[in-house]
Every structure is written in structure tokens, then in C-alpha cells.
């Protein structure tokens, strides 16, 4: 009751703060843990940026909830038998926020900008060699786009749809300044960009002429009809404050509640917790070039000494499923075979450590407090290894420093986390590769490397799965890393927010959400 009253008072007081008090009622307010970097898709970006951009821009294809790819601006995708030609017939009736109709020329224009070096598009490399190479983008007619590839790739469409690539979003020329630099996105998405007050909030306005697909929302695909006039992403860096803001009624969606708050939040009247497994990966890296850890027995000893299920339960309070496989449990490629989690075996761990010539010297594990999970993993690991007589020393670094250590491979062990990888190949690629050229890679194993590259070319699902499973088995042999779990996204909404769903990527989706506040 008191809460309700205070909430009203606060709504009022916040009303003062709003640019347009009248609209306060129809504004959906979402917590943003840090300001976005820019509105330039896939260029100067982070997870928040992606999460904002996908409300405004759409690509030819989009991700479903299970990370498979569905057509978005394209009506469908026709792939030639040799897998080198992709044809995208455009969906008719799609308009940009400035009212212009979508044409193949716009697609070509956007693609040209993405592929330019000076644009610094995050995924340029992938489509210019590492995944495949786009040799040409053709526009036979205003409603058709054709892309030609150098070599077949299983990852091509996924790459186009990747959120960190800004979904290769198609934007209108007006998005650019005269000098070709990025001004603001003019897209086809369900919302258009409103006011962006740096460090405070970004506002989106409903795009009335949005051409929605029929059916249900599904990931970034499907029906994305906007129901609220205005969306305001409020920047609240501090978790405690964000939680407070939710309870005080200053925000309508807390997309990233901390697991430790869930019990309390669930208990509160009207609060709903939406949980779904994400595609990221919490992991412990080991430096296989380290004199001590270069001995596989030592690495196995460490893996055996860890009680992964216990650790994951402690960290996520049962929210996430422990998994030694890098492919997220939410992915369609996560097979039963990959669910195997070797049991803890202290005796074996001790023996192996002995054989590896370990005599209790301290092993330093790098971690940070920036991401609580990393820190907690390190602390708990230290605790568990102690029971196997392995002496772990925490080296708590500030995030940027840890990142540098990571990219240079300067560590013995490191508690780390990989952001969402939507294609299973990438889930391995992120830590697999030759240390000589990429010191950040933890797993340097030529034959695995070969398998990985096959998996990227291979388009047949069954054969890919086979490859992944054998790589997984090899991973349990070599243990260059100990995969732990994919974190769970827990979004919390009060009663008046309806139609909201959380999904694999932690940034929320404002379409399909209604406000029943009266």
C-alpha cells in the first residue's frame, strides 16, 4: 500500500522531469545499465547499442529466438546450389521512417558503406575473408537484391543477422551527413529515434506506418508491431539503484535483474520475473603455454577439482544449467551429447597434480569486479581447488587491464565471459586458434582448427553437429578452458506491463509490449 502511494507520488514527481508530462502515461521506461555508444549499427557499439538499434533498424534477415535465421526485410532467401549466390526479394510495402519506400538501391547503398574500410564496421572482416567474401551486391530490379560470395559459408546469413553487426541493418541515405559520416538512423524498424540525452536517456517514438509481419514476435523476427507511443531507455548504471527504481516505479522494465535479487523480487506483489537462457558463456581460461599449465595433467586436475554443478548453482541460484560445452544450452546445436558434465574427483585431481609435478606453488587467476560473475567464479574456484590442494591466488584487475591481459594471453588462469555467439562454429572459434597470430586464443590445436574451419563451410546441419560433438570431446581431453554455463537473462516487470518476453540476448524488445496503467 505504502509502496503504491509512494509510487504515485513518484510517478508525479517524475512527471515533472519529463519533457512532455502528458505522454508520461504512454511511455514505456526501460533500464539501460550504461549509455549507448552511438546509433551507428555495428560500428561504434556494445550490447546496449545493439539493443537500441534493433528497435530502429532492420536487416534483410533477422534472428529467431533460437538463433536460427528468418527473413525480415527480405520476403525470403533463395540460395543457389553451389551456395555462392544469395537472392533476396524485398518485402513490398516497407517504408523508411522518412516515408520513402524501401528499394534494392537502399540495400546496395547500405551494404557499400558497411564494406568500406573507413566505416570500421565490426563485421567487415567476417564478410571480407574470415567467414566468406562478398564479391558483389547486385540490384537486378528495385525489389531484388543479389549477393555473390567467394566461397560457400554456413555463417553468411547468421553474420548478416548478428546483433553485434547491427543486423547489417538497412538504413536510408538520410541517415548520413553530407560528408558520409553517420548522423542518425532512418530505418524501417517499429520505432524511430527520438531525443537522446547523453548519460541520461534515449527516447524512441512509435513508427505509425510500420509494416509488421503477421504472427507472433520471435526473437528479432516475426511480428514487431509497436503498442506504446514512446519508449524511454533510462541510463541507470548502478544495479542497486536500478532495482530501487523498479520498486519505486521509475522504470517499467528491469531487463537485467541480478540473480541475487530475484528471490526478493519474485516475492513482491505484481512483479513478474521473465527468465531465459542467454547465448553468452561464462568460462575459465587456462594458458597452455604456461610452464605449469602446459602439462595437460595439471589442467585436467584443475577441471576435476572443480565442482561445476555446485559452482553454477551457487552463482545462478539454480537459474542456469551447468554445461561444459561452449555451445549455449539454448542453441539448437546443443545436443544431449554435449550435456555431459564430468563429475568432480578430488582424489584423481590430487594424483594428476602430483604427476604434473605440482608442489603447491600458487597459481594466479585473473579476474575483475566489473562483472560480478567473473569475480565470484574466481572466488569459488579458489575455494574448490583448495580442497584438492591446489593453491589459487586471486589477481583482481580493473576491467580494461584484464582485457589487455586477455588479448595478449598474459595470464595463467582467467575467469572470463564471452558475449553471445549465435552460430555454434563461433562458439568454438571464440577461444580456438593459433596463439602465434592470435595470442588471445586459449585453444591452439591444429586438428581442431581444421574441424572448426570445416564446420564453417559445411552447410549440412547433421554433419556440422557431428563436427561439434567431436570438438567437444576433444575439448574435454585438452581442457584449455573450463566452460561453466550460459548466464540466464532475468527481466522483471510490474503488473501493468503486458506482453513482454525476455530472450536469449539480454537487451529487451519494446515491441509487442502494452502498458495497462490506469
Amino acid at each position: 500500500m505504502r509502496l503504491r502511494a509512494s509510487f504515485l507520488a513518484l510517478a508525479a514527481s517524475l512527471g515533472f522531469g519529463l519533457a512532455a508530462p502528458a505522454a508520461a502515461q504512454d511511455t514505456l521506461r526501460i533500464r539501460l545499465n550504461a549509455d549507448i555508444r552511438s546509433t551507428d549499427p555495428g560500428v561504434n557499439r556494445d550490447a546496449n547499442t545493439d539493443g537500441l538499434v534493433w528497435h530502429v533498424l532492420e536487416g534483410l534477415v533477422a534472428l529467431r529466438g533460437d538463433a536460427t535465421v528468418a527473413p525480415m526485410l527480405a520476403e525470403r532467401v533463395d540460395i543457389s546450389d553451389d551456395g555462392l549466390t544469395y537472392t533476396f526479394p524485398l518485402r513490398p510495402g516497407v517504408r523508411f521512417h522518412n516515408g520513402q519506400p524501401l528499394t534494392s538501391a537502399d540495400v546496395a547503398f547500405a551494404m557499400e558503406r558497411y564494406r568500406k574500410r573507413e566505416t570500421n564496421w565490426r563485421c567487415r572482416g567476417d564478410l571480407d575473408g574470415s567467414v566468406t567474401r562478398i564479391t558483389a551486391v547486385e540490384t537486378p530490379d528495385p525489389q531484388t537484391v543479389v549477393m555473390r560470395l567467394e566461397r560457400p559459408s554456413a555463417l553468411f546469413l547468421t553474420t548478416l543477422a548478428r546483433t553485434d553487426c547491427g543486423q547489417t541493418g538497412i538504413f536510408h541515405r538520410d541517415s548520413l551527413n553530407a560528408d558520409g559520416s553517420w548522423r542518425a538512423p532512418v530505418g524501417t524498424g517499429p520505432f524511430r529515434l527520438g531525443e537522446w540525452r547523453r548519460g541520461q536517456f534515449i527516447e524512441l517514438e512509435r513508427f505509425a506506418e510500420y509494416a509488421a509481419l503477421p504472427g507472433e514476435p520471435d526473437g528479432l523476427a516475426g511480428n514487431k508491431t509497436p503498442h506504446v507511443d514512446r519508449v524511454r531507455f533510462t541510463v541507470i548504471p548502478d544495479d542497486a539503484a536500478a532495482r530501487a527504481a523498479l520498486l519505486a516505479g521509475n522504470i517499467d522494465i528491469l531487463p537485467d535483474a541480478r540473480t541475487r535479487d530475484l528471490r526478493d523480487l519474485r516475492a513482491r506483489p505484481g512483479m513478474t520475473v521473465h527468465s531465459s537462457p542467454s547465448f553468452d558463456l561464462q568460462i575459465i581460461l587456462m594458458q597452455t603455454t604456461d610452464p605449469l599449465l602446459s602439462d595437460v595433467r595439471m589442467r585436467r586436475a584443475i577441471a576435476l577439482a572443480l565442482d561445476v554443478p555446485e559452482l553454477v548453482r551457487a552463482l545462478t541460484e539454480g537459474g542456469s544449467r551447468p554445461s561444459r560445452a561452449p555451445i549455449p544450452v539454448g542453441s539448437g546445436f546443443h545436443t544431449p551429447a554435449m550435456s555431459e558434465v564430468p563429475a568432480r574427483d578430488l582424489a584423481a585431481a590430487r594424483r594428476l597434480a602430483q604427476e604434473a609435478g605440482y608442489r603447491g606453488q600458487p597459481i594466479r587467476i585473473v579476474t575483475t569486479r566489473r562483472y560480478e560473475a567473473f569475480y565470484e567464479i574466481a572466488v569459488l574456484a579458489q575455494d574448490m581447488l583448495r580442497e584438492a590442494g591446489i593453491n589459487l591466488e586471486l589477481e583482481v584487475l580493473e576491467w580494461a587491464t584484464q582485457l589487455q591481459r586477455y588479448t595478449r594471453g598474459e595470464y595463467q588462469m582467467m575467469a572470463f565471459g564471452f558475449s553471445a555467439r549465435l552460430d555454434p562454429s563461433l562458439s568454438f572459434e571464440m577461444f580456438t586458434g593459433p596463439k602465434a597470430t592470435q595470442p588471445r586464443k586459449a585453444w591452439d590445436n591444429p586438428q581442431v582448427q581444421a574441424m572448426l574451419e570445416d564446420s564453417m563451410r559445411e552447410t549440412d546441419r547433421a554433419r556440422r553437429i557431428a563436427l561439434f560433438e567431436s570438438m567437444f570431446r576433444q575439448l574435454l581431453e585438452d581442457v584449455p578452458v573450463v566452460a561453466l554455463y550460459s548466464s540466464t537473462n532475468n527481466a522483471v516487470t510490474p503488473a501493468h506491463v503486458q506482453g513482454f518476453r525476455s530472450w536469449a540476448v539480454d537487451a529487451p524488445r519494446a515491441w509487442g509490449v502494452r502498458l495497462a496503467r490506469r
Partner: protein
């Protein structure tokens, strides 16, 4: 006068903190860094006087451990600040002229320099250790010492007994050390006490921003910081270290006042 209560209360409070720290050196109820997943966020009970934190570590033990860390950090920082500040202040105040101006510029630079950046820099250079903090805060606070010392020196050097010392044929250096230096003792002692307090504050502030003495070592500051998420569920986690800091500071401040009264030159004359 209020001198006696100051001394009494201040002494008791600070004494208490020191006793806690001293005990922690030889005994704590539990290993302050030993985690226990089955006992996270346990409310206070007779086996966990102040309950446990999010890793199931005993808060009481960490508090005691924290006393040691905070006090040692504070003490060593004050030493650093004093040594640096005294040197700068004495040189500047006694030599005057260009030396003074240059030192002045250096001083201002340090003053205009937020401790947090220094801390980050030194931490990064020295690697994560409490000594980074000590050095950083030491540097950050040296100027205020220098200011006080310089001021005192400037006023003392005008007093006749300094001239008298010259008249006796004593060298400048001797005069500085024998007749001027001792007079900085009083103000510096007083300053040192307040410094002690400031350092404890700054250390906890830095820890609060994630730049303090690196965990898992317990300091009141990083206990407060990590307790923050549980303000509602386990308020004791934030209250306990907060109270400890406040106690310590109150003790220091009161003691400082008492010293100020004791060492007041007016009582001398």
C-alpha cells in the same frame, strides 16, 4: 574545558579499533577469506556474530581483518604523506625564492590531481596491491602537509629566537633543524591525526569505486562496496563496516581535537 572528554572518548574509540585489529593479528573467529557456499548471507547468530556475506565469509572476522588493513594502509599512507610533505614544506618555507616557487607548482599540480587517477595509475603500474593505494594517497595528501609545514616555517623563521640562533653563529641548517623543525611538530601531529581519518575515508571511497585495496583482502571500504547490493536484504553488511569507519574516524577526530588543545602554543607561553 572539553579537552578531557575528547581525549577520553577519542582514546577509547580508537583504542577499541586498535584492540580489534591487534586481536585480528592473532585470532579471528573464522578465516576472513574462507568462503562457504552453504552459508551465504546468514543473519547474525551466536556462531556468526554479524552473519556472513554473499560468499558465506564471516562478517565479524572480515571486519577485524579490515581493521588491520585499513589501519596499516592509513598509517603507512600518513607516513608517506608526512615524509614528502615535510620535505617540500621545509625546503619551500626555509629556502624561499625559486625553490619555493617550483615546489609550489609541484604542490599545486598534486593538489589539482584527483587521488582516484593517481590510485588507478599507480595500481596499474605497481600491480594490484595495497601499496599502490598507499603511494597514491600519500602523494595526494603530501601537499596539505607541505602547506602546513611551510606556513609554520614561514611564521617561525620570523621569530626572534631564530635570529638569535643566527646571532650565535649557528649555521642555517642547524637553525632549521634545531629551532624551526621542532615547532612544526605540533601542527603536523594534529594534521597527521586528521590525515589518518581522511585516508581511511579515501581508501574506502576508492574501494567503493572499485579502485581500492584489491579483494579478497578485507577493508571496510570494499566490504561496504560489496555489501551495497544487499542494503535491503542484509543491511548489517553495510551497517557494520560503516559503523566501524565512523567509530574510527570519530576517535581520530576527537583525539585530534584533544591534541590540538594540548599542543596549542598559547598554553605554552
Amino acid at each position: 574545558m572539553r579537552l578531557r572528554p575528547n581525549l577520553l572518548i577519542g582514546g577509547t574509540l580508537l583504542g577499541f579499533v586498535f584492540v580489534v585489529a591487534a586481536t585480528a593479528l592473532v585470532w579471528t573467529p573464522y578465516d576472513p577469506v574462507r568462503t562457504n557456499l552453504r552459508r551465504r548471507l546468514v543473519p547474525p547468530s551466536q556462531d556468526y556474530w554479524l552473519g556472513t556475506d554473499e560468499f558465506g565469509r564471516d562478517v565479524a572476522s572480515r571486519l577485524m581483518e579490515g581493521a588491520v588493513t585499513s589501519l596499516t594502509v592509513a598509517a603507512s599512507t600518513v607516513c608517506v604523506a608526512l615524509v614528502l610533505g615535510m620535505a617540500i614544506g621545509l625546503a619551500g618555507g626555509f629556502l624561499r625564492g625559486w625553490t619555493d616557487r617550483i615546489l609550489g607548482a609541484v604542490n599545486d599540480t598534486l593538489l589539482a590531481f584527483p587521488g582516484i587517477l593517481l590510485a588507478l595509475g599507480l595500481l596499474a603500474v605497481l600491480g594490484p596491491s595495497r601499496w599502490g593505494i598507499v603511494l597514491a594517497l600519500g602523494l595526494a595528501y603530501a601537499p596539505s602537509v607541505a602547506r602546513v609545514v611551510r606556513g609554520t616555517v614561514l611564521s617561525i623563521r620570523e621569530r626572534e629566537f631564530v635570529e638569535a640562533s643566527r646571532a650565535l653563529g649557528n649555521s642555517e641548517l642547524y637553525t632549521l633543524l634545531r629551532h624551526v623543525l621542532p615547532h612544526t611538530a605540533a601542527p603536523v601531529t594534529v594534521l597527521a591525526t586528521s590525515l589518518f581519518g581522511w585516508v581511511i575515508l579515501s581508501e574506502s571511497a576508492l574501494s567503493f569505486l572499485g579502485l581500492g585495496v584489491p579483494p579478497p583482502a578485507a577493508t571496510w571500504g570494499n566490504m561496504l562496496a560489496s555489501a551495497r547490493p544487499f542494503m535491503q536484504d542484509a543491511p548489517i553488511l553495510s551497517i557494520a563496516p560503516g559503523v566501524m569507519i565512523a567509530t574510527c574516524l570519530l576517535g581520530v577526530n576527537l583525539l585530534g581535537d584533544a591534541l590540538r588543545d594540548l599542543l596549542d602554543p598559547r598554553d605554552g607561553a
